[in-house]
Symmetry: C2
Subunit: 194 residues, 2 copies
């Protein structure tokens, strides 16, 4: 998606250690108008799928998921929570996810009330790198008996193995910007040709 690639080129900052900082529009300050356009693009890409629920994970996925929900007829959004909260009771679908960013393992869960066999789910998240978070969310969908229609990603680090591994399982992944390489010395970001 050219709009997103242009924004990454203009405002993304490449840091040592394979870090792309997009704090200023994607995961600290949020550009909701951009997110709305991204939602429309996912809708276009998944137009053939009967999506009626969006699943994401806290925190930065929530903004993208909500703005995308508009394009999918204001369908419900469910966000997976990290670690157990005293305010969630009853039965949950739960998996463990290792976070590259925070260098720790989270228990991630969704209440069984909000995901079940009748749902046709699109998973939305901001980043796809090693794919651990998405594999966890896909496992939650599998546990619930819902149909996983696909995964919509803002930025995929295509040079890491996560996206390849998920696609090889037969899951459709649509990433709006796919990074082929990035260099923290020059600051350059190179995208996969569409």
């Amino acid at each position: 998606m050219k709009l997103l690639e242009d924004r990454i080129r203009a405002q993304g900052i490449v840091k040592a250690g394979n870090v792309l900082k997009v704090d200023c529009f994607l995961n600290h300050q949020l550009d909701v108008a951009l997110f709305r356009e991204m939602g429309r693009e996912w809708k276009r890409l998944f137009a053939d799928r009967p999506i009626d629920k969006i699943l994401t994970i806290e925190a930065s996925g929530i903004a993208l998921a909500c703005m995308a929900a508009e394009a999918f007829g204001d369908c419900p959004v469910v966000f997976a929570k990290k670690a157990q909260s005293v305010n969630v009771d009853g039965d949950v679908y739960s998996v463990k996810i290792e976070s590259f960013t925070h260098k720790r393992v989270y228990d991630v869960f969704v209440s069984q009330k909000y995901l079940g066999p009748e749902d046709h789910v699109l998973i939305i998240d901001d980043f796809l790198a090693n794919g651990m978070a998405l594999e966890g969310l896909a496992e939650i969908v599998r546990l619930s008996g819902a149909t996983l229609e696909g995964i919509g990603i803002a930025i995929e680090k295509a040079y890491q193995g996560g996206g390849k591994a998920i696609r090889e399982k037969g899951i459709r992944v649509e990433s709006l910007a796919r990074i082929a390489a990035m260099d923290d010395l020059t600051g350059e970001v190179e995208f996969v040709e569409a």
Copy 2:
């Protein structure tokens, strides 16, 4: 706001220990169409204020803030983050916030890049009870030199002291549903008369 009060009456569950569960539309599964209406109501209530940035806190505030941003001309949303992340560097505004729900103290921060003296800020959050989170966010706004135009809340537990204490500091607080009392034995929720 009648739409929100009706939804709380229909789907909110009162639990022992002063807990109102609104998981099914507000903070686990999210009703974006309802949030859009809530955003329009905050816009109506704060129509006289030159709001150009919305500040919230992860995680459940993000959805409300993004949907509200639409009503404020797609202004930028900034969300305060809990605990230090390896992906945020540079200078931050930081405060400590005690969470009633999670019974712990968080370090909460906003990058100095995304809040400054030129901003006219509306703080948005899902709950106002003892007001600790909001006092922390208001302090972040004060540290940044921005103008705090007001606070928009979904559900205020008006029988707790938080809202009163914040209003006594001269901060305008608009809560869309104000709970006067709730009873976990009968499940009844009583609202403050408008």
